[in-house]
């Protein structure tokens, strides 16, 4: 059982690796691309904080993803993760912007269709709604942060060397927060579909620390993301060069804004606090760090007024938006056909009928 589980989990780990190799760029791309931080430092900090975020705070978004569809057989989990990974690979090859979250959600919807499980429309609406909310929230955070940072710099008038020094420290701290948020929010994409079928139990580490079965699964996925971060140099340079026109301080604003978006959609404590105040609860669902970054960059441009708004390439934004629509649809289609293939050609169970029936 152990070996079979790990063979099936390999597609999730591959997904984690590619997520690390791509999304680490959203967190540290500006810092590395603008040569404010060394790549090795960025990758190491990213790997450590992704693992911490996934193990400590990864439960919320995973629960949100689980509500969409509990993939209850290892073969199904494997195929859904593989479909998402194939979609990401294909979209990247076509040069279209990719979102791991959307690919995984599309994969789960494909599994729901194949296994005749009713897709929870409330959960789906919540997740899709977060895709709209994430970039808007990213833009708002960036706008406010930019104004505050600009005001603070004007008021304190730091020497250029000190501004550089504090920006480096800020980028490192923001990157660590971003990596933590990425781990917390996106671990659900990587191993979320394996949770219902996972055979992993609780384990005690020297009687000091106890890891639940879910946390062990998150740790494995997070390690894959962490390893992927060390392969993100090229993407980091690309993202850095694209965003570097906003400057290191602007880059810091973008990373903090993106990290806050991911944190808002991951933090159970924040959700509890918001509900205590009487505000509507924020859904704890995995959101795309790429969407948050795009929103934050636009927010930064808009904060500069009309001049900044003119700098936004609206045609590029349109293509990105089209990619956001296409990704889940393609992943759902690939997932549906791959499940058919795995079930009928390899004769592997991809769902458990009894539980499906119970679910209905």
């Amino acid at each position: 059982m152990g070996l079979t589980f790990f063979v099936f989990l390999s597609s999730g780990l591959l997904l984690g690796w590619s997520l690390g190799a791509n999304d680490a760029a959203n967190v540290f791309g500006t810092a590395v691309g603008s040569r404010m931080l060394r790549f090795s430092t960025a990758a190491a900090v990213c790997a450590v904080f992704v693992v911490l975020g996934a193990v400590i705070s990864g439960a919320g978004p995973s629960h949100g993803l689980g509500q969409l569809g509990a993939v209850n057989a290892l073969g199904g989990s494997f195929t859904v993760a593989l479909a998402a990974a194939l979609t990401l690979y294909g979209m990247t090859k076509l040069g279209l912007p990719v979102s791991t979250t959307q690919a995984v959600v599309g994969g789960i919807v494909g599994w729901n269709l194949f296994s005749s499980t009713r897709t929870d429309l409330t959960a789906l609406t919540r997740i899709v709604g977060s895709w709209v909310a994430a970039p808007i929230l990213g833009a708002l955070f960036a706008l406010v942060l930019y104004r505050l940072t600009d005001r603070a710099i004007r008021a304190t008038k730091p020497h250029i060397l000190w501004l550089d020094q504090w920006t480096r420290i800020g980028l490192l701290a923001a990157g660590a927060l971003g990596a933590y948020s990425l781990g917390a929010n996106n671990i659900a994409n990587v191993v979320g579909v394996f949770i219902p079928a996972s055979p992993l139990g609780d384990i005690s580490l020297g009687g000091v620390l106890t890891l639940t079965g879910q946390q062990r699964l998150f740790l494995l996925g997070a390690l894959a993301i962490g390893v992927g971060a060390f392969f993100s140099r090229r993407v980091m340079m690309t993202v850095g060069k694209h965003i570097v026109t906003v400057g290191p301080v602007g880059g810091w604003v973008v990373v903090i804004a993106q990290s806050l978006v991911l944190l808002v959609f991951s933090s159970q404590s924040l959700q509890a606090l918001i509900m205590r105040v009487g505000l509507p609860a924020i859904p704890l669902v995995p959101v795309s760090s790429s969407q948050a970054v795009v929103g934050a960059v636009c927010g930064l441009a808009l904060a500069r007024g009309l001049k900044g708004a003119r700098q936004i390439r609206w045609s590029v934004l349109r293509n990105i938006a089209l990619g956001w629509v296409a990704t889940p649809a393609i992943a759902a289609a690939i997932s549906y056909f791959a499940l058919f293939f795995v079930q009928n050609v390899f004769e592997q169970p991809v769902y458990q009928s009894a539980m499906v029936a119970a679910g209905q």
Binding site: Y146, D150, R154, H159, I160, L161, W162, V253
Partner: protein, 219 residues
Amino acid sequence: MAELKISPFRKTRVLQAQIDELLDVVSQAALAYKHAIGHYIRHGWDATAEEKFEQLNAFEELGDTLRGTIGQSLFTEMLLPDTSGDVLGLLGSLDRLLDDMQHSLVVVRIEQPEIPPEFHAGWLECVALAADTVEQVVVAARCYFRDPRATRDHIHKIHFYEDETQRTALRIIEQLFQSDLPLDRKLQLRGHVWLVDRVADLADDAGDALAIYAVKRSV
């Protein structure tokens, strides 16, 4: 001192002090240049003029050393990745100002031209305006390092002083060629006036570059 050595911000403190020192050196060199030429016009080349000349030499050497050290630190420590080119360009312009003021005084020291008394007032005014142009560049440069948006408030003064220097220099040259001096002296004195005007010209070029650097330095 021991605390300073282990501080992670030590390099930044040292580098900031070096940049401030270079700016001080350029400002003091401008004053030394003005005093040296002024003293020469009034008293000829004596021990005091020689002392001012040595002082200006020392400033020029110190400026070269500081510029080299700052440039090396910026590259080896990978500091200011987005603006290091501009900062080095600015420091290079300041260093050229030091070189040019020294060169102008070297030529006076070698040729020791005889300036007729009727040109003294205009000549002193021209040198003072050139020194003011350099001083305004230093003020604008200090502003660039702390508050780039306010740099333009000082750059227009650089242009003003440069214009005034040029106007005064042209007036002196016109008067020179309308005078009864022999042609060889007219040409010699004209060359010296151009050397003073060239200091202001270089300062104006530094001001133009600084205006662009300041615009580039936005959040």
